[in-house]
């Protein structure tokens, strides 16, 4: 079994209203040294019956096809754990 984490973040320059609102709230809560916040998503995916290299490929394909909106988002894939069956 393979455990992987996919992280999807907004491309540089793309407006991040969520991040901006969080920045505001953090500074209102007294966290004064926050310079910037950008929000993204993670997907923790478990795959079965697959090798590590196949998994990597297929995770990337998932991002391209569904998990990331590549017009405005970047993604990265990390294999966290690979357990042989």
């Amino acid at each position: 079994m393979i455990r992987a984490r996919i992280t999807v973040t907004l491309k540089n320059g793309v407006l991040d209203p969520q991040g901006k609102a969080i920045e505001g709230s953090l500074s209102a809560l007294g966290f004064e040294n926050v310079d910037s916040v950008r929000q993204g998503k993670v997907f923790d995916v478990e795959l079965k019956n697959t090798s590590k290299s196949d998994a990597e490929q297929s995770l990337k394909a998932m991002c391209d096809q569904l998990l990331a909106n590549t017009v405005i988002e970047d993604f990265s894939v990390t294999i966290i754990q690979a357990i042989d069956q």
């Binding site: 407006l15 991040d16 017009v71 405005i72």
Partner: protein, 737 residues
């Protein structure tokens, strides 16, 4: 660090700005020298099709735009129409087609944001929104993704902003496979004496930037060239704009507060080509020059060049000319709402548009000529060809009428749109009298303190692009006529319209021919039906690989109900009510839904629109509603009488029994002849009503009676309400699942 603002102007650069050789020659002449890079950007923004209407202007001028009810016609951010007692309705429709194809959620969302800003810039609080959507073949691999993203984006923005979405359209056709259409409509209400305009007045007054910060959003493909001269700009820069409905809601509230203080002399939202267009328009309208200092512009990205700032399409921004003595008060309002407020320039008396950046003058152009001297083309056009009439006898009747009705009712273009409109908040503001699903959305008019004025407004959006393809002139007329009917069916007096003219490449004579004919049809219908066009938008070049969309001139129409207790809806009839058909029996099957869905044919001419009959029947129906005769009403459009009866039965939650004695029953049941309505009347009043109809010389038929749980039409159709409902409601959710 110093950002370079110069770059060599090459013919390629000029071309990549969408400017022709002739256009550039004219620019050289008007500038009096070679333009700077920033200036080239400014010229191109002002002279592109979107801002200058260079292909369409000649024809738009022919549209009727005046009437006693019209306070402000096309030209301002939105049209303004009198609704009595010192109140007016402000509305417009605008397309966001291309962005919604690239990134459906954000493209549609920012489309909604843009149109809302157009309305509240004028001082009107938005009270209703609609959206007219066209997608490709449901079987096309991109369609589902586009539908899901566009609908979510419209809801995401409108719901958060807090405007009820009360109507719209969704249609599918393969000709939209590569070019979907997203036309967004918004309407607001204001006191007539509380309307704000964009014309700057007074020399030396502060020009103020309001709202969100400027980023590189939407700085078009042309700017990709700029990456060559500044290594600090990331290469892969997305040109998609992200909407921030929360900021827009704050901007609305801040603007409403600000306008009350008397601080606003002129105000203009930043839409396409943001700072450039807004500043130039404000100055030129007021015969003033404008000087902007870009170092004062609130930015959210580093190292932005003058070019980028001038062309950025970042959302949720406005520009205003301020009464200087009220600066502190105005600033306080914006900081309360967490928004930027920055004095970025001033008005001048020399009719120049000057832009300063880092101590350098990066643009100095004649402000009037930027707009007034924009090219205007009389593009060659071809008169569209026409279909000859189809002979009814050549159009095969269905073998099984039940099956035909079920097929049509469950087809992508006639199935219920509930899946779409339930994602939109249609109730917010607590003034919605009719939600989507009927003929028009109806919203009550309340004053500033939430007191009911007794009035309501009705909103509808219509066009049948297949009719327009077959005959753009009749199709244009039909779009207006259908909107007139949808308003009338609710008891609303049609007031005025806005249009969104979506076509292919105007440089092709056939496409230009469609445009010219459609505008002619729309103009005639608007004149005949007293519905002047008070605002609108043109979207051309909707074309991929040489294949244009169906000509799609969307009409958004607004009607007034003087006393909303007298409105009428598609549902509401009781058992025993008599059903009347207003208008002739159906006979016309060319371009009908029946032919398309049951015979797989899209041919023949569309139905002819008799504007005189439209008007007569509409007035009659409104009078019947007004005098309390009608228990429910529905116009007859796509799918003809049978579909209208099915929709009405579903809305009533009651069946109907219809007598039918005639030849060519398929034409009677599915014919799409115009100027027709279904209207139900309490049986006690039915004779009186019939006598009145005769007295008014209106063609009408007593077609049947409401009741039971079956829709029965002669011996041909007998279907349970349950089955009708299942069929009607199933397609959309099943398709999107």
């Amino acid at each position: 660090m110093n950002i370079k603002n110069s770059i060599e102007i090459t013919p390629e650069l000029v071309a990549s700005h969408g400017l022709s050789g002739d256009e550039y020659d004219r620019i050289l002449e008007l500038t009096g020298r070679e333009p700077s890079y920033t200036e080239l950007g400014i010229w191109s923004a002002m002279w592109n099709e979107h801002c200058s209407y260079k292909s369409s202007k000649k024809w738009l001028k022919t549209l009727p735009t005046e009437g006693p009810q019209v306070i402000e016609g096309p030209g301002e951010n939105a049209g303004v129409v009198d609704i009595g007692d010192g109140w007016c309705v402000v509305f417009k429709m605008e397309s966001h087609n291309h962005p919604s194809f690239i990134e459906p959620y954000q493209g549609a969302a920012t489309g909604v944001g843009g149109i809302l800003r157009d309305v509240f810039t004028m001082g009107a609080r938005p009270v209703a929104a609609m959206n007219a959507l066209r997608f490709g073949d449901p079987e096309h691999h991109k369609t589902r993704h586009l539908v899901s993203g566009v609908v979510a984006g419209i809801g995401g923005y409108g719901n958060c902003f807090g405007v009820p979405t009360v109507g719209g359209e969704v249609q599918f056709h393969p000709r939209y496979n590569q070019n979907n259409l997203v036309n967004a409509f918004a309407a607001g209400i204001a006191r007539i004496d509380g309307i704000f305009r964009s014309e700057a007045k007074g020399v030396g007054l502060p020009v103020v930037y309001l709202g969100a910060k400027t980023g590189r959003d939407g700085v078009g493909g042309a700017t990709m060239a700029s990456a060559e001269f500044d290594e600090n700009i990331e290469q892969k820069r997305p040109t998609v704009q992200v909407g921030d409905p929360f900021t827009e809601k704050c901007l609305l509230e801040a603007c409403m507060e600000l306008m009350k203080t008397g601080a606003v002399i002129a105000i203009q939202d930043m839409g396409a080509a943001g700072l450039t267009c807004s500043a130039v328009e404000m100055g030129a309208r007021g015969s003033l020059g404008v000087e902007l200092d870009l170092d004062k512009v609130p930015v959210r990205e580093e190292h932005m060049s003058a070019y980028e700032m001038m062309l950025s399409e970042s959302q949720e921004r406005m520009l205003m000319v301020l009464r200087p003595e009220l600066e502190t008060e105005a600033n306080a309002i914006f900081s309360k709402w967490g928004l930027d407020f920055a004095i970025v320039g001033k008005t001048t008396d020399d009719l120049r548009f000057r832009v300063l950046h880092q101590g350098e003058e990066v643009a100095n152009l004649p402000i009037r000529e930027l707009g007034d001297e924009a090219p205007e083309y009389d593009r060659p056009y071809l008169e569209p060809g026409k279909y000859s009439d189809l002979n009814i006898a050549d159009i095969e009747p269905p073998k099984d009428y039940n099956k035909a009705l079920i097929t049509m009712l469950g087809s992508p273009n006639l199935a219920s749109r509930r899946w779409v409109w339930e994602q939109y908040d249609s109730l917010i503001q607590a003034n919605t009298l009719q939600i989507p699903g009927g003929d028009a959305g109806v919203v009550r008019v309340c004053d500033e303190n939430g007191n009911d004025t007794g009035k309501a407004l009705a909103f509808t959006s219509d066009v049948n692009p297949r009719y327009c393809e077959a005959d753009p002139y009749e199709g244009g007329k039909q779009a207006v006529a259908e909107s007139y009917r949808n308003l009338s069916a609710c008891g609303a007096t049609p007031l005025a319209t806005t249009d969104n003219l979506n076509f292919g490449n105007p440089e092709k004579p056939e496409v230009m021919g469609q445009f010219v004919a459609a505008v002619k049809g729309i103009g005639e219908a608007c004149s005949a039906l007293d519905m002047p066009i008070v605002s609108g938008n043109v979207s051309l070049y909707n074309e991929t690989n040489g294949k244009a969309i169906l000509p799609t001139p969307t009409i958004g129409a607004v009607g007034l109900i003087g006393d909303h207790s007298k409105h009428c809806a598609i549902g509401g009839a009781d058992t025993g009510d008599i059903i009347f058909l207003i208008g002739r029996n159906g006979s016309h099957l060319g371009q009908s839904s029946y032919m398309r869905e049951c015979l797989g044919r899209e041919d023949g001419p569309p139905p002819i629109v008799d504007l005189y009959a439209e008007r007569q029947h509409g007035e009659f129906v409104r009078a019947a509603i007004n005098s309390g005769y009608a228990t429910s009403c529905h116009d007859i459009s796509d799918g003809g009488l049978a579909i209208a009866l099915a929709e009405m039965s579903l809305a009533n939650g009651l069946g109907a029994e219809i007598n039918l004695l005639t030849e060519h029953p398929h034409a009677v049941l599915f014919g799409e002849d115009q100027a027709r309505y279904l209207l139900t009347v309490d049986d006690e009043w039915a004779d009186m009503f019939a006598a009145n109809s005769e007295g008014s010389a209106i063609a009408f038929t007593r077609v049947g009676i409401v009741g039971g749980n079956m829709l029965k039409i002669g011996k041909l159709i007998s279907i349970s309400l349950d089955e009708l409902r299942k069929t009607h409601e199933a397609w959309f959710p099943d398709y999107m699942a």
